[in-house]
Subunit: 337 residues, 4 copies
């Protein structure tokens, strides 16, 4: 029985609370939130859970082994640091921090204290994304050429963070998970239509050492919800559409063949289109967040490193930090160290 | 009865041939193509049309008043120039030319000779695009904020031209038509996966003097066909999806409201989401190319300037020329004069 | 604070349990189920609720004012009867009973005891269905002509009940709710492919006194999930698609106009197609079951008759009973008394 | 070179004219239509074709070997009879005739004269339907259980024929083609909302000797166009959606397994759902009508019996004739001889 506390019961918090509350091997001891109404809502549903107006009370409770941090991104570093210092395993919502230095700080601390530090990159636990990875990394796929992702809708406007920091962590974590490669440079272009200084529409362009590219379009200002990732390979192509309930994943046996030909003494190769079947594999209906929560508990119990550990969190923060610099400088190419 | 000749019977040519052949006020006199098989196919369908292996024969025929040029883009300038010099009205497929100098040259020549010079920007004659313009420029729409267009599919690979020159003229002509504004700068990023030096995937980012932006994604290397333009306004939003047979145009009564509030002495405005109905106006089923062809004949007859005249063609060529420079220089911001 | 007990925690029960558990004006006192595992699952989530292995314990608890019955349909009558006899308000899942006599029995008992008897026709509380009704009954719609509904998918096979009794109550309740008219006759045709005697595919055809007709197709044996109701009116048409997250309701301004004409002494009217716009009104995202549960509590508190009362439940049972007779007799036309 | 004449240039005629005009091995000699405007439209497109105001002129032309009849269904028998008597091969649009006697008459005449008699069941030449047949008749599919087809839209209202005779021939020809079995009985229910006596909405229910069933829903009075056939088999399921440009055919590896079990002395079998992948095979883009026309010419040349011969046409007419009787008698079960 792992004793857990959750700090933050806002937009996403209730989903983590529900999952931990329903796990057999977990005791959800306490939930903290400054907003009394939100807290009351949680306690109405889970009367045996203790409510706290301040996360400090959870950090101070020695009976609690692990802490889940679902607060605004700007506070992640400070709270996670105190939790690790208090000897607790930590699951932090994405983005892990707002700065790479802060992420490195947490990683070092967790390493030193031998504690689990996990980033809530939910999509790495999504059965469709996991299946997609198996396909795009198989020989049949012919090698990934490029990826583009669209994550737009009429989203909730957040005052403290722009659409890139809010939405792109998902796509970067998916892209890095699929490519197993770190980008060398990023460009970001965007605009603030709703409130000066808070970009609501951002386009990211990432370059990888192997020549692969990734493009990410995120927006809060879109009429229609889109959650789609397209992966183009040398022999096949794939679309992951999270909103398609029947065919979340489609594998297209399509592409181009290059045929060498010689005509009138000139040798060249001709590029010929190759159509083909579409295959939509059955995807398990497991809730990704449930898999993520179970993985956190398993890592604590077995002393394992999470799939989406602090380094995975750092990678995404590094991409975003460089992108933020590019965004502030009119889209200039920023190298990622 | 306007006497017409068509030069080029390749991929797109037959559509123009069919439309002119079926118009009552037109006599399609001759079609020229170097490929004997293609020409035979046309003549089988239209036995009364004269076939020529060389466009020069059409230009030399004094009984022909107007020439339609549907040859590879690289040849547009030379053929159109000779046609204008021969005193013929000219309809040139998009892009008008490959260089702005060439486009200016044709414009000057047509002005001097008082001949009609029209660019085949079909989408400006598309009933859905025309309806879209009416909506996005009405007061109700609250002013266009940004536009993004996606034109991707597993396309026919063309050796002489990249995906940007092949596909983006459509989107640029739509964007300029809707905005009635010329871009000040463009950035283009892309990759050549199929054949070195021929980009098959390109992302364009355009800036306008008013602060509006447009993003265009074109690709020959995509599993699924997409032809979509999204326009985000201050009060409403719209999606034009050319592949949706039931709802080509959707107007979303959705957006954000900014509400000024004062709390604890701090005055700020809060951004609040506003959901709403979707309206899909009935769009006439008229073939856009038919409207375009009729407009060409009408301009010749009445001495009018076409909607998509040489200047309209030049605007698109200027955007593409600057984009090509950006593409060749790793996405650097290129000013458009 | 209304004190509530729920009997049945199977497939649908947990949804009712969750809704009542989260309502401020309700105290969910006890849940009964014979299956110990299911019960344990509920109690893990709601530790303050009392678990009972037998519904009788709930009926015997005088502190409980209202009982929610979510057991197999064959047991509805017996349990509801005992609950009413014990002086409790009752909400019964659909179908209210398996026989009209039983439904009449419950109605009489509830009337006599002045207790609330409500049928769980969830769709009558669905914001999309309520909006649909407003539209199809407005003058603009031109009068409903016919309705057809499709409710098919690869469904859970139930041993005790066929697909008609399992799925069609939803559609009949929607059809009767929209038409405000009771059918005079029904025909049902179907087949038992999976298990002899248990129809997995059924087609219903209902006739109404006004000449309107309704067709219902239900199936457990379908590759793809469909939940769609089409209403054709004299001037407009509507589609309610429960699986379309963006446009649950579409109103088509389309139909036919009859134009009288006279030619060569013959007077006749010509029927002319009229195309038009599509309108998708914004539908509130409220969970229909939440509205239903709140309505039950409100009826208890204020002594009101529920929208979907015993008579509403009876109407659906009468339709199903007649349809079952038709089904057993090869689709013969069965009058509904 | 087969010399062909086409009688009828109305709604569907131009498609047949176009296909025959473009075939190398065919000479389209003449087209007949009473409507001078329609005829002029055809001649504008195909100036080398002879126009006739009366089909008799085509029948009288001894140089014409084969005649294509695309006139209103009521006239099919009379014209086809005269064409066969004149020694010409005949392709008749569906339905072959309006009565089985008439169909038998044509079959006998063609047999006696050794002439090709073909029915224009286009869908039997549709690559998607042909692929579908291969799949549903393979062992993997587990045997067809039931088929249902929907062919509805806001259709052109035809005064002389109801929606069943207009639309259902397509579905019956598809169903019979897939099942290779003739129905024993049919029921038809429908309503005339637009014009008394002309049903605009019809539901057909067909029974086959093997226990299979088919349901067909046709309507001119529907907001949205649907062209869909669902085939449910013992091990797999398939959907053919003619309007889905990317996935015309979807094969679902889904179904139910029956598992025998014994519990407490009772032996029964349990029905368990089996989910699975979806496969959308690549379908050739060939125009079905082109395949049909080529097949007609090939049968004439080689003296072969067409796939959709007179007997195939008769089968559909027999189904429709029985259905019309059922429709006129309130849906009574009518045996098909």
């Amino acid at each position: 029985m792992t004793r857990i506390g959750v700090i933050g019961a806002g937009y996403w918090g209730p989903n983590l609370i529900r999952n931990f509350a329903e796990m057999d091997e977990v005791e959800l001891v306490a939930v903290a939130d400054r907003d009394a109404d939100r807290l009351a809502g949680v306690l109405k549903r889970y009367p045996s859970v203790r409510g706290e107006s301040d996360g400090a009370a959870i950090l101070a409770d020695d009976s609690i082994e692990a802490v889940v941090i679902v607060t605004p991104a700007e506070t992640h570093h400070a709270i996670a640091k105190r939790a690790l210092e208090a000897g607790k395993h930590v699951l932090v919502e994405k983005p892990l921090t707002m700065k790479t230095d802060e992420a490195r700080d947490l990683i070092a601390l967790a390493d030193q204290k031998k504690l689990v530090l996990m980033t809530g990159h939910t999509f790495e636990y999504n059965p469709a994304v996991r299946h997609l990875k198996k396909i795009v990394r198989s020989d049949d796929f012919g090698g990934i050429r490029y990826i583009y992702a669209t994550r737009v809708n009429l989203g909730v406007f957040r005052a403290g963070i722009n659409a890139m920091w809010n939405l792109a962590p998902h796509d970067l974590s998916i892209v890095f998970y699929l490519l197993e490669e770190e980008p060398i440079a990023v460009r970001a272009l965007g605009q603030s239509f709703l409130k000066p200084g808070i970009e609501d529409v951002v386009f990211l362009y990432l370059e990888f050492p192997s020549g692969k590219i990734a493009h990410v379009h995120v927006s809060w200002l879109d009429p229609s919800k889109v959650r789609r990732v397209t992966v183009v390979g040398g022999k096949k192509m794939a679309i992951y559409d999270d909103l398609d309930s029947e065919q979340k994943l489609k594998i297209y046996d399509r592409g181009f063949d290059s045929v060498l030909f010689e005509e009138g003494g000139i040798r060249d190769y001709q590029v010929r289109l190759r159509g083909g079947d579409i295959h939509a594999p059955k995807i398990e209906g497991t809730e990704p967040l449930r898999v993520e929560c179970a993985h956190f508990i398993e890592c604590i119990r077995d002393g394992k490193t999470p799939l989406s550990d602090g380094r995975s969190g750092l990678r995404v923060v590094a991409g975003l930090e460089a992108a933020a610099e590019s965004l502030a400088n009119g889209g200039k190419r920023v190298l990622i160290p």
